[in-house]
Symmetry: D2
Subunit: 268 residues, 4 copies
């Protein structure tokens, strides 16, 4: 995940990293194609400067760890705008009950879309209620969102595509209209099936979720909720950022928001 | 729109109607292909009986008029189940403001999906709040929904496909998870461009909505809202139905629902 | 496979057959949805008459056997037109060598498309060479084709979709341009994996063809060749048919065609 | 068009060029997203070296002119392999007759796919006939192809997508099986409709080709033929290349090929 104008360099840096890790690439085996996603951070960032460099990419890969993920105005999230407020990185997950295998579905988003009036949190039209909040909304960004869904449920491509589509329903719950300018990309992966790069055998089999079984709707529900909550978390964790040309993107005002949620009975 | 097991006969009856209307079909011009949509009404209906007959189809076509549409447990809606309550036909529309051309987007749905706990009205988790309502939910239907979106905004196929996809976001707002058993079909049309059946000219042009212009996000928003509200209207207008084998599907209890909406501040 | 205007009745008849076979349909289990494909036979057939009846459908199902398939002007093929000549049903198959598992790929087509000048057999532009053949081509049909690909290679939906797309490449080899009026439908199935209708287990696994293994390109090649040859067989086996209003569709003139193939070295 | 491992840098260089040309990008207007396509040239090229630099990209853009296009082992074509022979850039076009508007359809390909035995030229199985040609085929490349279709026929996105799909039928005629390892990308554009980047008007109209009119099948046929011939031209114009580690890719032997075509009557 990065800003739109950095994609080329990040692809090149990931390729460089892949070659270091797998020196046989493009010599004894096939090539590597990096998957790099982007949203525009033009309001806050000097995008023409393309300030992401090779060392940033390699250091980001090197710093990747399991565990808690930083959210809000970090990394690619630094320049993002969400429902007219400061956006960025958000994450959330759901764990299925034991009798459904205890599988986990997680979502991480780079949130950069929407107008203030559309923002809906836990069903409460927070954005409309905050219509008078100062400062008023700027000219609306023509944003987008990247969603990555990961699961340890065994899913092949069909199952993952179905999860990815459900993530879009989670975005709808927060108020997304998949606006015209919005290039919404959703990527889903399972970390279970290891598909060999090259293989001499004719057939193989992998455990995967039964489509008409008891698990599938639970995974759909989990995906929708995780995607929805990840966007909300991006908003709640983002902090006000001052960018290029004194452009300011304000964080969601937390206290007024919490009051609205309490009033509607959405939180205690 | 009809019940699943009637599709064949309804297609045949529509073809018969088309031939009566256009006696040149399949003789001097090409053939006709009826578009017939279906949801399963197996809980309430003796589907094996395939009780829809030619005269029902022709009489339904003959009775079609402009103006108010009957909603709830009517027509194909008679046997439908929605979030565990009685479902069926619902409709809703939005009119854009004059400076956006005053265009209309309308939705009509045949609603037949969802579990009680998923039902969300105006953002309020009505279904969860009604979890104790008697009688309890039956074994969940594996339902589906048909949505038809119509507009007088000039849209070609690309624009209509984009509207159809937004209708799905409206379903998400009511609590749809596009469940595994749910074959959700969305059809969109515009009544503006008249594309000639056969033509001797090489090129043509039609007015159509500019994709990066001021109208498109308004049409998206209108579509989402109309689809959402059409499902809610189907619930509010449906009445309890007793079907085959004494199966009963209860209408949404209106007074408790309205109380929940009032309490959350969703309605006055 | 049937003529366009019969689809409704055939769907209904198949549903009736399915209910007889599985009396629990739509009562204790879910509904059945028949897959019925169609091409237009308007030039030869009185399509408005919709002459296919329930007993024809049930008798066709009852008569289905393993083994040799009738080809040419039979069944749905009776009214078809292929490259301006008499078309219809054709079939072909390929068996992979033992070291590739000995798997079989078969194709059956209902061929109803193309203009004389496009016809290409074994790479030889037979249609162009026959341009002066009498009688001249009628006003070109706006045809289509149905292709069904069956295999005993273990393939899940992704693998089958990939086979179906390759079948289209086989059609290209015979001269198909997937013309504007041509609704080309390709259905692929494998008879190996038995997916339970309803299941209580969470996950399952099926043997399936490795995508980066030694088998996949062989299956692609087999599919392309079988689809191509099935169309050629439909042409070679079809016989001249006189239809409604004294319309005549002439069979491909075999001897001139064979001479052209010999001259080009395509056959001995 | 470039080699796989250069994509990142080429994207970045195109973005740099775009910013120079349009200094308002990402400041007063939206961002630019470069469309860069790739095939693997791993057999001949030291891909890990990623030898394409900014100056190469800018100089290639600067050198672009109307008129004759270099073909064969040039540019991205330098390292390509086609049916086991030397591949690369090929181009071809068709002009419709005046009564069909005189429209032009052109194709340019970066050809990098196929095994020797599959090669078919003008319907003649040249590759099979050359099976004994020395040196024998190397371990088969897992190639791919990029096709760009351009036309001055007025086409909107739907029409262009339909052309792109027909280009695939042209590839089938040369022997392509769209092999498993083959990422075949086809891009189509029309240079007629100028869609404004941002617009204040609600609707617009563009001339575009009537789908059921006299032009569409001619454009399909032209696209298929141009794509087919562009691949053949890539083969005929490519010259033997010696690459990394003394890897050699031999050009198609022209005289034996022409003899085979003459013998089959495909050329005089």
């Amino acid at each position: 995940m990065t800003g739109t104008m950095n994609v080329g360099l990040v692809v090149d840096a990931v390729n460089q990293y892949m070659v270091t890790l797998n020196p046989e690439i493009a010599i004894d085996t096939s090539t590597a194609n990096a998957l790099v996603t982007e949203c525009s951070d033009s309001y806050l960032n000097d995008m023409q400067g393309r300030h992401v460099r090779y060392e940033h990419v390699l250091s980001a890969i090197g710093a990747a760890t399991a565990g808690q993920v930083e959210e809000g105005s970090v990394g690619a999230g630094t320049g993002m705008t969400l429902f007219g407020f400061k956006g960025g990185i958000g994450t959330s997950s759901r764990v299925l009950p034991d009798d459904l295998g205890g599988f986990v579905v997680g979502a991480i988003v780079l949130g950069n879309f929407g107008r203030r009036a559309q923002l809906t949190i836990a069903g409460v039209p927070v954005g409309r209620e905050l219509s008078g909040w100062r400062p008023p909304e700027d000219v609306p960004e023509k944003g987008s969102i990247i969603v990555v869904i990961g699961t340890n449920a065994p899913k092949l491509d069909r199952g993952l595509r179905r999860l990815a589509r459900r993530a879009g329903l989670g975005l709808a719950r927060v108020g997304s209209i998949s606006g015209n300018g919005s290039g919404d990309y959703i990527v889903a992966f399972s970390n279970v099936a290891r598909i060999p790069h090259e293989s001499d055998v004719l057939t193989m089999n992998f455990d995967h979720v039964v489509e008409d079984g008891p698990l599938i709707d639970a995974l759909f529900q989990a995906t929708i909720e995780a995607a929805e909550e990840a966007v909300v978390n991006a908003l709640f964790r983002a902090t006000t950022v001052v960018g290029r040309d004194d452009h300011v993107r304000h964080a969601l005002p937390l206290e007024p928001t919490l009051q609205l949620l309490r009033k509607a009975g959405a939180i205690a």
